[in-house]
């Protein structure tokens, strides 16, 4: 079967992803920038402020809020150390009680709080989250630089997790072999795949494993 050509910004079949976090990926970032084909100007450099919600009870669902919209992705499978995540739900604030009951809190896998209102603003929702001992909101600021190497979408990002700086690199594609080739080209083949949830949990002290460097 012919492989699907990835185009930045277009919806494709579910992608696999390699991502890692640490302090020093200067060499990989340099190689990425040199090997990249030209990419659309809109992905050259992007900045965003996001809130991630992490749950002590699971690593399966990744919840983030950006521009007043909530986005939950769910882990599908891991193949050769590469991870596949699918969109689970998207919602917008104010958000209805039904969506919180049926989609959001089940994704957190924690006890449902008493929901006494028909809709909830972002502020009210975050208050509920922070009142739950098994959940925590985390401030994330991203400065992302986009590339395309070996037909995989790549980025180098400066990320502030609750104000503290880490660097992340990634390569994603529907084609596993293209990601592996990219990892080899970037000299990161042996580096641990660390997704956002894992990186955040390590930095906020929920998991005492180190980052990649």
């Amino acid at each position: 079967m012919a492989k699907e050509e990835l185009k930045i910004g277009e919806i494709s079949k579910p992608r696999f992803e390699f991502r890692t976090f640490g302090q020093d990926f200067d060499e990989a970032a340099y190689i990425m920038s040199r090997k990249s084909v030209p990419v659309p100007e809109k992905v050259w450099e992007r900045e965003s402020d996001e809130i991630y919600i992490v749950s002590k009870t699971n690593d399966k669902n990744n919840t983030k809020i950006r521009d007043g919209k909530m986005d939950i992705k769910t882990f599908v499978k891991s193949v050769d150390g590469l991870e596949q995540w699918n969109p689970l739900m998207k919602g917008e604030f104010p958000i209805s009680k039904e969506v919180l009951e049926n989609d959001v809190f089940p994704a957190f896998m924690v006890d449902m709080p008493a929901l006494t209102k028909d809709t909830y603003t972002l502020e009210e929702f975050l208050e509920m989250v922070n009142a739950n001992d098994n959940l925590q909101t985390v401030r994330v600021h991203k400065e992302r630089f986009g590339y395309m190497v070996n037909d995989t979408l790549c980025e180098v990002a400066n990320v502030l997790i609750n104000g503290a700086h880490v660097v992340s690199i990634n390569s994603e594609s529907t084609e596993i072999e293209d990601i592996k080739k990219t990892m080899a080209d970037l000299n990161v083949s042996g580096v641990e795949n660390i997704n956002y949830l894992q990186a955040i949990k390590r930095i906020i002290g929920w998991n005492n494993k180190p980052l990649a460097n």
């Binding site: 976090f21 640490g22 302090q23 402020d49 996001e50 809130i51 809020i65 950006r66 521009d67 007043g68 604030f93 972002l122 502020e123 975050l126 922070n130 001992d133 925590q136 909101t137 985390v138 401030r139 502030l160 997790i161 609750n162 104000g163 503290a164 700086h165 880490v166 390590r202 930095i203 906020i204 002290g205 929920w206 005492n208 180190p210 980052l211």
Partner: protein
Amino acid sequence: MTHTTPRYEFRIFGIETINHFIELLEKNGNVGKVRNISEIYLMTSGNNENNIKIRNKLLDIKTLVRQENGLEQWNPAEVGTFPLAKEKIKNEIFPALGVECPALDRNVYTLKQFMIELILVDPDIKVALTEKERHAYTFEDCICEWANVQVNGAMVRTLAIESENPDLVYNAIAKLNIGENIENVNYPKELKRILGLKIDYDINKFF
């Protein structure tokens, strides 16, 4: 416990936002040693007055003595070097953490036993593993430093000014052009922000 004279301290944290002040310190201060230090901070949400850390198996607790006109005075006290007797753990460390002390099965705890059996299993205690690259200076008769600090692998930068005389600290702050609106942030406060034990961010930029 051993005691030394408490100093008044002013400290700030940031990434690029404090580089200008560091450059002024490097330009005008007398350079001292560079030290690389690994420390374990023990953090709880309710504790704001005790700075509890372990360096080279030595556990010390700095206690906030007073906050005065934007400065803080901390009293450092060494609890002891691991292995530590359970009485020290029960009577000094857990009260400082502000959480209930679990049943202590051993008479003496090594650092590893203390961390694995008492700290990492306690949901009310969070650990910040820090790697500091500390650059010491003297400036305007104050002890100063700037440092790159990795907190559980994520980096922040800090600058501190200390003296037993608060007026000398105020003078150094002014000479480094640190404005009055810049908050004095001690280590526990910054670590709590990074660990998410203190939620104090502006929500509006997420809309």
